[in-house]
């Protein structure tokens, strides 16, 4: 049951990622792309979690934590860039 659920979830996440990629590619606006990238970051947390479940290992937990933290900072930086150009001022 669990492995089936794992596969189903994985399939859903993969589709989500592909849709992120789609939005990232076609845009049309810059915030659209940034949104897509941000979502891709968040979705890849799902990938890590599923990998952990699949391998029965928590070794990758910190990776997920870091993605959550750093993806955010990355998005903030791009937004700041769009708004102000100079991201540290």
């Amino acid at each position: 049951m669990l492995s089936t659920a794992l596969y189903v979830t994985l399939a859903l996440v993969v589709m989500a990622l592909l849709m992120n990629l789609y939005r990232l590619t076609i845009g049309p606006s810059l915030p659209d792309r940034v949104l897509a990238l941000d979502t891709m970051y968040v979705n890849s947390i799902a990938l890590i979690v599923l990998l952990g479940l699949w391998l029965n290992s928590k070794t990758y937990f910190e990776s997920a934590l870091l993605i959550a933290m750093l993806g955010f900072i990355s998005t903030v930086a791009v937004c700041k860039y769009i708004l102000r150009g100079d991201i540290i001022e």
Binding site: L24, S63, L66, M69, D86, I87, I88
Partner: protein
């Protein structure tokens, strides 16, 4: 040892004028003369031994790898040359003492002169081929300095460079020739070489070697067609000309041919080449001596001519010819030195060397006139002068030689022609200067020079006459020794003034009659030949050099092209070729280990990565979008690391990726937002092909390695990680222990990057766009409130996570590097959210010391192991128990990792925060309509970043 001193004293003499120049000219001149005089005396003291048939040799091993010995010999030939070099050299010193003007730097002159003398003595006495070459090139250099002595004169500079270029080129050829010669003879020792003539002649490389050696000799001795530098070397002060072009420099080539005669002269090739070159040179020089109107020009070309004569004799190569050659070397040196010095006196007293300004000087300068006439008579070969004797011998040998086979009459005929010209130009010299009335007034009123200035000329002229009158008494001994040295066996000869009426005498008479007639009519001849003139050797030479320089510039510009794209293209092409060579040798790309099965998630990852990569490249003209695509690649690289069991790498990649993004965006603001379309489609296709092919090669190699089993040393690390390194995380233990040295280097790199970037930011002037790429003015909301609040909430959390990652690194994924980046990123978030001024106020410590302390901590941890007698960076760890807390581990590796952490934090902040600060300070204050409280930050003056 005396040989060494003879060779070394002139060399030491270089220092004397430099040391004594301040003490006045007379003292300096005297002091300078002491050492060469001593050397001359020492040379003479050796004559008895030489006459006893002793082998005078000195040898010290200097550089066995090059077969270079400090080896000197003194045989007859060296004796002859030493006497000329040192004797005439002393006279030149005396002469120069009066010749040089009061304000000229005579110390330098003497130093150069001594250097030249030393190198000539060296050539004459070298008993080793390489040593000979060393001195040989030294004459080129010292003559360059001497010719260019009046450096403010353009002709002096050009003449000097020309002489150096031609003789230097010859010297290089000579080096090649001598190396070959030594190789052929199996030794670089002169004695061995001279003894192995047969071997040398039989060697197939003989013609090449001969060509190279002769190239050296001919350029030095101004043989046709390399003669052109010599007349231009007359720009030198007259003492120099007198020395270089009578006794020394130009005789070096002759000396070389004489010296190596036993080893290399025994072939038909030698005879033909050397005689032909000699005869052409002789006639060519004589002809131009007749045509020149400049006193020193006449002498220069006559020198060329006489050198040709000696060369012919060496080419003929019979014992008597060699004797004649040696005799003429002696004679020419004496009369030509005298003539040059006379010319110098005339120049000195009248201020000109032009024949048309000179004339009738016999009244003002009767003694000089007499001396010059006598010397010129010697040059013309008038009986009772030394020049007559050697010329007679030359005529005799020209008749006796079978060199040119069927046209054997040609040589005597040409020799006679040379004689005719020689008589004509000698006559012209004397007559035009002293007897014929002048056409123009000379710049100065002429009178006799100081007596001592004339003394050298008097001595030389007396020698000319005495040798001419009493040849047997004066020259036989010396010539016996010298000819024995060249020929190898004693030569039985008798020098006499009168040999009876024979063909050579008739040739001489012919030469006189026709020569006088020629001078009588030479005005017509000159007018006739002037229409062919106009080829100025120097100008041709310079034009060639300029053209070479210009062509070189074009060539190098075409090759280099100042195009980074091309350079990078070459690099990748080279990599492609090299990788390709390896690749084609792999017969079976798939190795024994084969492929592991594939799954959907891997395909997704691959698709994302490939798509991200291609999109990065495809959108590169829209830079921010390209960056976003790059970010996808970065993210999925991290995920790939996670997928293939590398959690540490995943963490590192993630944190580096975000820092890189921030950095690239920081920089992008100051760069154009878009890239213009400028590469041609063809170039794009070419680049794609290159990139694609190299990518394919890399992929194939990657595949080939992955499908083969690893034979790695890695099991050692896994086994020893815990027992030896005290940690469970093998990757971390490798980083801080097994290969801690790498890590130390790596954090040094990081610290240097921070320092380097600081340097770049210094004095940075920025293009600060007032609006974004679409022309939109920036949002006035510098620090969105939502962001400011959240950043403060996140900071403690991030620091906590960072501490966590740091502390567990040794046993679990993590470590100082990742922790450092997290800390840095959290602080950067503050900078983004609250601004530089705000953050700076609170983070009021400089970053550079943090980075450096990081490196210091790591280094000190490494050095600590010395205290326990272990090598640098040896780790130690132990387990400790405390009540309540339980057992815990303490490892020096953690300290090392702390260094890493600090270095990373310091360096990253140095890079990012400083960059942010610099740019902010420059931001124009055009849009401060907002009433935000932080507006003051924008107006703060540009401060140095920390």
């Amino acid at each position: 040892m005396t040989l060494l001193w003879i060779a070394l004293l002139p060399l030491l003499g270089v220092l004397v004028p430099a040391l004594t120049a301040q003490r006045g000219r007379s003292f300096c001149s005297l002091a300078t003369a002491v050492l060469p005089a001593t050397a001359l005396v020492m040379t003479l003291l050796n004559v008895p031994a030489l006459l006893d048939g002793e082998q005078l040799r000195f040898s010290v091993t200097w550089m066995p790898e090059l077969a270079l010995d400090l080896a000197f010999r003194l045989d007859g030939l060296s004796l002859l040359f030493n006497l000329l070099i040192l004797g005439i050299g002393l006279l030149i010193i005396l002469y120069a003492h009066y010749y040089l003007a009061k304000d000229e730097p005579f110390g330098r002159f003497y130093a150069f002169l001594m250097l030249f003398m030393a190198s000539m003595v060296g050539i004459s006495m070298s008993d080793n081929l390489i040593l000979l070459w060393l001195f040989w090139e030294l004459t080129s250099l010292s003559s360059f300095l001497l010719i260019g002595y009046w450096s403010y004169r353009s002709d002096a500079r050009k003449g000097a460079r020309m002489a150096l270029t031609v003789t230097g080129a010859g010297g290089l050829a000579l080096l090649a020739g001598l190396l070959l010669l030594g190789d052929m003879a199996g030794s670089f020792n002169m004695g061995d070489v001279l003894a192995s003539g047969d071997v040398i002649l039989a060697d197939p490389r003989y013609p090449l070697m001969l060509g190279l050696v002769l190239l050296g000799a001919f350029t030095k001795s101004a043989q046709f067609p390399f003669h052109f530098w010599l007349p231009h070397a007359m720009a030198a002060p007259t003492p120099v000309s007198a020395y270089l072009h009578s006794a020394t420099m130009v005789k070096a080539g002759i000396f070389l041919m004489a010296r190596l005669h036993p080893a290399i002269a025994g072939s038909e090739l030698w005879s033909v080449v050397v005689s032909l070159v000699g005869i052409v040179t002789m006639l060519y020089g004589a002809w131009f001596a007749l045509m020149k109107t400049d006193l020193k020009g006449i002498l220069a070309f006559s020198t060329v001519s006489h050198l040709g004569l000696i060369t012919v004799l060496l080419g003929i190569g019979s014992p008597m010819a060699i004797l004649a050659a040696l005799f003429h070397i002696l004679n020419h040196a004496t009369f030509k030195a005298a003539l040059f010095m006379s010319a110098g006196i005339i120049d000195h007293e009248t201020g000109t060397r032009e024949l048309k300004q000179l004339g009738g000087l016999k009244k003002a300068m009767p003694v000089t006139a007499l001396l010059t006439t006598l010397a010129a008579a010697a040059m013309a070969g008038v009986p009772l002068f030394n020049g007559f004797l050697s010329k007679e011998m030359f005529f005799t040998e020209s008749l006796a030689t079978p060199v040119l086979g069927g046209v054997s009459w040609l040589l005597p005929a040409l020799a006679t022609l040379g004689g005719i010209l020689s008589v004509a130009y000698s006559l012209r010299l004397v007559h035009a200067v002293f007897f014929k009335p002048a056409r123009e007034e000379p710049p100065k009123t002429p009178h006799e020079p100081p007596h001592l200035m004339r003394l050298p000329v008097e001595i030389l002229v007396v020698l000319c006459v005495v040798v001419g009158l009493f040849p047997a008494f004066m020259a036989t001994g010396l010539l016996e020794l010298a000819s024995e040295a060249v020929i190898g066996s004693p030569l039985d000869f008798h020098l006499a003034i009168w040999h009876g009426v024979n063909l050579p005498l008739i040739m001489s008479l012919l030469a006189f009659v026709v020569g006088i007639a020629l001078y009588w009519r030479h005005g017509n001849v000159r007018r006739f030949t002037q229409q062919f003139a106009g080829i100025d050797a120097r100008r041709v030479f310079e034009r060639i050099l300029i053209s070479i320089g210009y062509r070189s510039e074009q060539l190098i510009a075409a090759l280099e092209g100042n195009s980074l794209q091309r350079y990078v293209g070459w690099l990748w092409l080279a990599a492609l070729v090299m990788g390709g060579i390896g690749l084609v040798q792999i017969t079976d790309l798939t190795g024994a280990a084969g492929n592991q099965p594939l799954d959907g998630i891997l395909i997704l990852g691959a698709v994302m990565l490939m798509f991200g990569g291609v999109a990065t490249a495809a959108t590169h003209r829209y830079r921010l979008i390209s960056l976003l695509m790059l970010s996808v690649v970065g993210l999925f690289v991290a995920l790939t690391f996670a997928r293939f069991s590398a959690p540490d790498l995943a963490l590192t990649q993630l944190s580096v990726e975000v820092v890189t993004m921030i950095l690239l965006m920081l920089a992008l603001f100051f760069l154009p937002q878009k890239t213009p379309r400028e590469s041609s489609p063809l170039r794009n296709v070419r680049d794609m092909l290159l990139a694609g092919t190299l990518g394919l090669v890399i992929a194939s190699l990657n595949y080939a390695v992955m499908t083969r089993d690893t034979l790695s040393i890695s099991s050692f690390f896994v086994e020893n990680s815990k027992p030896g390194g005290g940690g469970y995380n093998v990757v971390n233990v490798i980083l801080v222990d097994f290969r801690g040295f790498d890590t130390l280097g790596e954090i040094t790199v990081l610290a240097i990057a921070g320092l380097a970037i600081f340097k770049l930011l210094n004095r940075l002037r920025l293009f600060m766009p007032h609006s974004d790429g679409e022309g939109r003015v920036w949002s006035p909301d510098r620090y969105p409130a939502v962001l400011t609040s959240i950043s403060m909430t996140l900071l403690p959390l991030a620091l906590l996570v960072s501490a966590f990652i740091f502390l567990r690194g040794h046993n679990q994924p993590g470590g100082g590097f990742i922790a450092g980046l997290i800390t840095a990123v959290a602080l950067i978030l503050l900078y983004m959210a609250r601004g530089v001024a705000w953050a700076q106020e609170r983070l009021d410590f400089p970053f550079q010391p943090v980075a450096v302390i990081g490196v210091a901590v790591a280094t000190l941890t490494g050095l600590g192991s010395w205290l326990f007698g272990h090598p640098f960076l040896t780790s130690a760890f132990g387990y400790f128990s405390l009540p309540l807390i339980g057992t815990f581990e303490l490892a020096t590796a953690l300290l090392f990792d702390l260094g890493v952490y600090l270095a990373v934090v310091g360096a990253t902040l140095m890079i990012l925060a400083n960059l942010g600060k610099v740019t902010t300070a420059h931001r124009p204050v055009t849009e401060t309509s907002g009433k935000d409280t932080d507006a003051a930050a924008a107006t703060s003056s540009a401060k140095e970043p920390r």
